[in-house]
Subunit: 299 residues, 4 copies
Amino acid sequence: MKIGFIGLGHMGNPMARNLLKHGHTLKVFDVVPDLVRKLTELGCEVASSPAACAQGVELVVTMLPSSPHVRSVYTGKDSGKDSGILSGVSPGVLLIDSSTIDPHTARDVAMDARAHGNNMVDAPVSGGTGGAEAGTLTFMVGGDSADFEKAKPILQCMGKNIVHCGGAGNGQVAKICNNMMLAIEMIATAEGMALAVTLGMDPKVFAGIANTSSGRCWSSDTYNPFPGVLENVPASRGYTGGFGADLMLKDLTLVTEAAKAAKQPVMLGAAAQQLYQMHSTMGHGALDFSSIIKLYKKD
Amino acid sequence: MKIGFIGLGHMGNPMARNLLKHGHTLKVFDVVPDLVRKLTELGCEVASSPAACAQGVELVVTMLPSSPHVRSVYTGKDSGKDSGILSGVSPGVLLIDSSTIDPHTARDVAMDARAHGNNMVDAPVSGGTGGAEAGTLTFMVGGDSADFEKAKPILQCMGKNIVHCGGAGNGQVAKICNNMMLAIEMIATAEGMALAVTLGMDPKVFAGIANTSSGRCWSSDTYNPFPGVLENVPASRGYTGGFGADLMLKDLTLVTEAAKAAKQPVMLGAAAQQLYQMHSTMGHGALDFSSIIKLYKKD
Amino acid sequence: MKIGFIGLGHMGNPMARNLLKHGHTLKVFDVVPDLVRKLTELGCEVASSPAACAQGVELVVTMLPSSPHVRSVYTGKDSGKDSGILSGVSPGVLLIDSSTIDPHTARDVAMDARAHGNNMVDAPVSGGTGGAEAGTLTFMVGGDSADFEKAKPILQCMGKNIVHCGGAGNGQVAKICNNMMLAIEMIATAEGMALAVTLGMDPKVFAGIANTSSGRCWSSDTYNPFPGVLENVPASRGYTGGFGADLMLKDLTLVTEAAKAAKQPVMLGAAAQQLYQMHSTMGHGALDFSSIIKLYKKD
Amino acid sequence: MKIGFIGLGHMGNPMARNLLKHGHTLKVFDVVPDLVRKLTELGCEVASSPAACAQGVELVVTMLPSSPHVRSVYTGKDSGKDSGILSGVSPGVLLIDSSTIDPHTARDVAMDARAHGNNMVDAPVSGGTGGAEAGTLTFMVGGDSADFEKAKPILQCMGKNIVHCGGAGNGQVAKICNNMMLAIEMIATAEGMALAVTLGMDPKVFAGIANTSSGRCWSSDTYNPFPGVLENVPASRGYTGGFGADLMLKDLTLVTEAAKAAKQPVMLGAAAQQLYQMHSTMGHGALDFSSIIKLYKKD
């Protein structure tokens, strides 16, 4: 299938390469020439604008850093004339946006697309650059069932777990609500581990108990933030690799703003956002997000 | 074995009966005559004080509501003369305290016992009255390895999972640190579920995604607080049964005071304690602790 | 002076009337016909768009509900053609925006105005509808000194306290940072009063002590939230009148989003935003903001 | 008047000296010989126990570090025999405790004293060592009116502001509730100042505005935490001198425990306790409590 692919950064690059591996043909666009070059070396066609990238393709995939980028790439102007995907794409072509953005913007852009005759699904991912390279990402997909079914074989070239979350925007809702739970549970684990050790327990013994009890969570049994409890996690290699604290902060900012707009209290979510903000202000934003335990224990 | 058993409430009663079932002989004590009567009907010998209850037995088990009770039952006076266990028990007899109390008191009393010639383990439980009746409690045991091995066959009459947590007091540490994680994760789940639904998702679909992702925890996959997501949990029967919100509040109060005494920050633990306090003040203390979601959604 | 005035709601109406009283001539615009009618009855000229309202006047004043309104009124389009103030106003005319919005938008719009040849000051107010009617508002003004001096005599027709806060956007910064402090201090007072009374003190006696000690603040000595402590405050008339809890929630939402964008932690500010959100969710948003004490005491 | 004085540390020493200056005769006790020596050099009689110190005096004043000390000094035993004040003092002698402790203990000890025939008032102070030396302390007094009137002339030798707060324990309630408000307001000021400056305002200009608006509080207008805003405050001399952050942490710990015992939510009070705990863990406990702003701004 001929696919337009826009956004060729750390995530977009390996995702595009996995589409190539499965025999698809790509036309690509990015504002950074170096990122484009890596794909042209693999034989991809280059477009000069999102509109051009969407012209003559059978499907469009986008992977962008934030809500304003998504708006601009789909409906933006350049020097006064329309340059966005919607001004170039043929009606009927399915649009897949894999960016993590706020659900409100996702729904807005999907409505604009619909008005233009194009169906759109939001399909944010989890799994990080490792999952993108291995083709094992999870895609959380919001959109009509028929569109989900159409998107699925394409997404399966890049991921392993393709989940339908309901209508437009629900992929984003699933992603940010899950990540809010994750952030709070990581801090819960950090506080529990640090306190148990301060009160005299061995960290592995305590983790073993919590992980077979009601306190267990992914952050304690799979990604424990206390150094030495698990092998092959960021906590056991100086919090390098993994999912950056500043990326978690970005998701927490998204989710707390979505909660505010929806008038929905999220007391611990808001506190978690503040704790990651403090952690980042102290200079730890580039470390894995499990490094939040540094707020609670001396090194 | 002849065992002295003190504290015959909702938890102590079924625990004592399970010891009887396994062929042990009991001498019992409680300040509430009605609670004592239920055991005498089963043939237990009655004692008039903790000291008397501990006289002539081979092992002592206590199950009491709070730290001051434990102190008083082990080392207290009545009308000016010593009436506690330590004034009646023979040196060498092992003492097992299954109360949930603060680790500091647990260690203090264990030291008093040691000075008197008795080894002691703290062995708080999880599993609730259901587990107590079924004999499937988890015991988190703090004390020397030799004492743990001696206590184990007795605890196995009342529970299924007997875990050694390290030295004296560590059973309490494991219990309260696990429950702090549990409380925070329950609130994380409540906030995540409520927000996902407010933003337009089906609660079962969202729970399904979180439970196979990094947001999963016991509170989401085994005890989900959103009505209708799981069968046979308190959320699906009006938050009746289960583990009461006021009991969680009691444990959170214990753990945050232990953290204060240890100068250990527990930011979300303190916020969780306050949220359960608010919930209780609003009149929901008798409901299951998953009812905390009422702070976040309209009924 | 001939002034264009846009935004004729609860605040804008009395502000416009005070300008009339001081002999100024007004041309007015609002999207709600009923609000416009009240001013035409007083002899004001009516305009059909913001652009038209700004044409041929010597100064423009706007009083709008939120950031998107401000952007749209200054730079918006209607049916594809420019209809905002900047497309109608003559270069050199001073623009005064009295809306409470985020500082970032305030600075953005001021830059757009500058590019068009118009200087602009942001001049949000405090003092509520009472102050607007009495002409005793405080104006916090951000902009160049020369523009501040030009705006001052006009603002003095509507207010008593005209404060220069520095460059563009600083009026907004002063307003929202002050209101964040106010919200936190109001909750501090509510918690202190409620706890002192629960612990056995008379509320007036405790307030008297705090107000002459280091705990004193405007919320305790001038606007006490405990019923019966002060006369003529909302707490002593069922929390009617005053500054609505939902308006405080709006300002807290603005300030916490500005803090997020600036990567500045505001731990208690974020907690205050959540508490006002909870209070609003419970149905108390229309009451005065001192009613937040309802979270802490039984009625 | 012949007065027994117990507790001769940083606060007790200058308080005792001020009593001497006003012509009173002192019999003193402290467990630290060096502290006692400083008073014997001034001609005070020395006692060998609290009981001995209270024998033959007309009034007793105590100034101790914590609740357990107060219990022990009033009702304790030494080597198995009663050594506390109540075992030595004559019935009818008034007892004044100026320690800052929890209201519950204060009321308990006052009841013990009453049973022994002695009236007691709790009279914690504010004003620090500076106020103790200058004789300008504020005393917050809990007890009967008649006892308050009897205590007043004595307290006026050591302080300037003598306030009756109601019955036994209310002095403590006033002290800790005021200090909880103070701590929250200090953090409110720190967050407001730091955010206003990050968003582009001059710190003095913003403080000037807040201090004449609804955000004003003692922490902003008299003890501003931002360096350079006020002269002669700890913020302008590297946070030396003043009221130590660890002393504020101690008071916050007292007040949040009193709130827990009373089942009274104090959401921001609990958050403030945690923030001071974090600040202390980072090594800043010895600085003035306004240094909490270090959590919010780079040095």
